[in-house]
Symmetry: C2
Subunit: 327 residues, 2 copies
């Protein structure tokens, strides 16, 4: 589980958290770094978010300037002695190293030790992970997965992110980046993916992939049509839009049924733009899921909408890193 | 994690184990129930197997008669006060319930509470799991996965079994039967599988599936040709035999690369009849595996032969259930 310096970093983090826990501090900072915006806020033990702020990701051409701005924002709202820790969700976040590694959607590339820089800049302990992993923790602590110890969390947005919880713990894997179900190859000669390979689930079952499918079925559609607009057409019983849901559900339902063969979750939560389509998506996904499940798994895993609100999920999830790792 | 009575069973088990641990007992019984034979033996903390015995599975037309015979065998070799526990690996074994559920290859069907019956018949605590799960524990405690906390264990025999270890613990899942990678559907309209569906990995990458592929490539081959005989032909550079390895490795390598996206293991161990082919299998599997890995996973997971001997693996694995769950 990582290198000596990684362990050292986590041990130090735990010691500092311990000191703070003992004096009853009960606020964590949650920060979500996305391709478009960086969102932050303070989160208490009940999951109440306060002092929200939003920054434009494009305003920061290097990670140091973002760290400095975030430190300013955090201390304009709170005293460091009030803060138990800072939790960060980021694309390609590595939990063990606290680093953002080769993010596909940010201006800065390479490997950035973002958690260490934040901790140095603020004097507050900091943990960082993949954004979908953070959201999975948020679902467990504050959403519909409360009390569940085995579940999958899937975000169907621009990309397809996932977090896997086993035995009440997020699965980080050997090197800190487990849980990339969006990059399971479902069509070996299929659509090109941003990762450089072909046929990843993300290219079919994210909101983006869904729109691609719709535009194949309806070549007259505007190139910039959104998944929400396609949902509205399906609501109006447009045949191509309904067929886009059916084709998307066929691939997603089969892949989720295959996923059960790994960790046998109690529930699979779907979140994000495409999940907002509700029954239009959930009904055919559940049908294809059940039809493809191994007999011993049938009837034992439910597919559910996330219990988190779209607006708070990212901040709650990031802050959950702190509550979940409190010793 | 299962029902109240399940928890009760495990709590009672742990109490009884505790009592025994305290007086320094250091022998466990390992029993492997297979379609052809039932193997058992005594295993100490160093993984030394003694007092081996083998029974013919077909000699027992009901599970009660097998339990009685096993109890006799165990006490012909040891006193119950010497035994810390009995670990059992069985097809379709459910860890939480200690039951064998709808086994495809045994004469008795339905759900048998085998672990409870063994504990009653012997007065010794008993734990039971899927045979491949047990073997994964054996690999971790006594084989090549010593010291690893995240790995996959795959058996390529008559079927394709798997055990998944995350954070040093076997993944049992919500209902006790996680880890069935052999039943990931890799060809939706593919070969019929014993589970009633089509296109499961097991139908392509088990020893049985490999022979099916070979017989498609060489229709003149004897219907009862074994995977070992096909390996010998590949060793002699027979084209159809080499192509059978290539086709098998293509499907297995891709599916293992997809598997990394779930739990990001440090290693994947291949065991069983087909793995005995050595480099004929491992080389093309590694090639297809690396070619299909997501960039962030490349070079971080190794595919290795099991470190367990074919003859002791099943008994060691079953006994490992006791050593791993010792409190």
């Amino acid at each position: 589980m990582g290198t000596h310096s990684t362990r050292q970093r986590i041990v130090e983090y735990e010691q500092r958290m311990n000191d703070k826990s003992e004096v009853g501090i009960d606020l964590a900072v949650g920060i979500d770094i996305g391709g478009t915006s960086v969102k932050g806020g303070l989160v208490d033990r009940e999951g109440t978010v306060s002092n929200r702020f939003t920054l434009k990701t494009a305003d920061f051409d290097n990670p140091r300037s973002l760290v400095d701005e975030l430190a300013d924002r955090i201390f304009s709202n709170s005293d460091r002695s009030e803060l138990l820790g800072i939790g960060i969700g980021a694309p390609n976040g590595n939990f063990y190293r606290g680093s953002i590694e080769h993010p596909p959607n940010l201006a800065w590339k390479g490997v950035t030790p973002f958690a260490s820089w934040m901790a140095e800049a603020t004097g507050v302990p900091c943990l960082l992970t993949n954004d979908a992993n953070a959201a999975a923790l948020g679902e467990m602590l504050f959403g519909a997965a409360k009390g569940m110890s085995d579940f999958l969390f899937i975000t169907l947005g621009t990309g397809l992110g996932s977090g896997i919880v086993v035995g009440g713990e997020l699965v980080y894997g050997h090197d800190g980046t487990a849980g990339e179900i969006g990059h399971v190859i479902v069509e070996p000669e299929g659509r090109p993916c941003g990762c450089g390979r072909r046929g990843c689930l993300e290219q079919y079952a994210s909101a983006t992939g869904f729109v691609l499918t719709y535009r194949e079925l309806n070549p007259d559609a505007a190139p910039d049509i959104t998944s929400r607009e396609v949902s509205e057409r399906a609501q109006a019983r447009e045949q191509a839009a309904l067929e886009a849901f059916e084709q998307t559900a066929r691939i997603l339902g089969l892949t989720l049924a295959n996923s059960v063969a790994y960790t046998q979750p109690e529930a699979i939560f779907l979140f994000g733009g495409l999940a907002a389509a509700g029954d239009l998506l959930f009904e055919p996904v559940r049908t294809h899921f059940e039809a493809n499940l191994l007999n011993i798994y049938q009837g034992k895993t439910v597919i559910l909408p996330s219990g988190l609100s779209e607006s708070d999920a990212a901040i709650l999830g990031a802050a959950s890193l702190i509550w979940q790792n409190e010793s």
